[in-house]
Symmetry: C2
Subunit: 192 residues, 2 copies
């Protein structure tokens, strides 16, 4: 068999249908709380609509608060183990500004808000994306309490990111995000 099927050489990362038409693009979210509430709301809706795990993320222009892209966990829906909320938000943001770096010349600084502290893969992706600020809600132990695994993330990872100029704020709206994790567990959602 040769490359006669597109499925062998391309794959599509897409948001679930309910997101489309719902988010106001270019909307400005003035405060950190409003920005994080969007990420947590996306996580919550992802659970309620059964489109994926209890995780949401969003990329904003750091100074203006303008929304650039969003993501929700889509691992099972897309048959893609890398389709974490943060990965989707970062890739859609890069597509939107048409650059492989959100720190590219001529663009304002960007930041990532995520409803849960990133796993090992996503933390690496944060570094490559060029965002200059990372804000998290639920923490590693909250995810682990419902049996989600974060992988090999150590204090040194955060030290490394900070040394590269990334500002990190942990635990904003943590209780709200933790409630989404618990709701997911209560529904018997898949753990992977």
């Amino acid at each position: 068999m040769r490359w006669d099927r597109p499925s062998l050489h391309e794959t599509v990362l897409s948001l679930p249908g309910w997101v489309v038409g719902r988010i106001d693009y270019d909307q400005v979210y003035p405060t950190d709380e409003e920005r994080m509430r969007l990420a947590v709301t996306l996580a919550s809706e992802n659970v309620a609509r059964e489109s994926g795990g209890p995780f949401g993320a969003a990329v904003f222009e750091r100074e203006s608060g303008r929304l650039i892209a969003v993501g929700v966990n889509s691992v099972v829906r897309l048959n893609n183990s890398t389709a974490h909320a943060e990965m989707i938000a970062l890739q859609l943001a890069e597509r939107r500004i048409a650059s492989h770096s959100l720190a590219a010349d001529g663009h304002p600084a960007h930041e990532l808000f995520t409803s849960c502290a990133p796993c090992a893969m996503c933390l690496g992706a944060v570094l490559w994306s060029g965002v200059t600020r990372l804000v998290t809600a639920a923490q590693r132990e909250d995810a682990e309490r419902i049996q989600f695994d974060e992988g090999p993330v150590f204090a040194e990872n955060y030290t490394y990111l900070r040394a590269r100029g990334i500002e990190i704020v942990d635990g904003l709206l943590r209780d709200e995000s933790r409630a989404v994790l618990e709701a997911y567990r209560a529904r018997g959602g898949a753990i992977y």
Copy 2:
């Protein structure tokens, strides 16, 4: 502005055109050397055809050696900082078997061959993908010599993966892969 543009809610990961029609799918690569030579050849061709960075990867069925999917670094071509060779190969493999886990029931064990030791992001992705074996050619210091950054990868990351049952073999065909890195530098390829 609402979600009136597909670019806001989906993105496509695709291999460069030269790969399509060139790779024999389902081909069996009996030995580790043959498997790695495919990954290194993909890296080399990616440089020669100027479609991306000097990195290639391939997923095989571990026992049979049947090729499942390939990847080449596509960061600049796709405007996607996550489009590393390993990430593309793993996602295409998961799409091909229609599961978010290459360790899913009813499937044989899978392994990833990569022309260079994975960065922090890709090493996390290896864990989530369900491959049970990782084989690398060039090492971190080889990539760093041409100014490619691997990010926060520590000995503990490898300890963690091994503890999770992933067999790791380092440095197979290292010299051949290192030559590809040097060729890329000699051509003045973009470093990111």
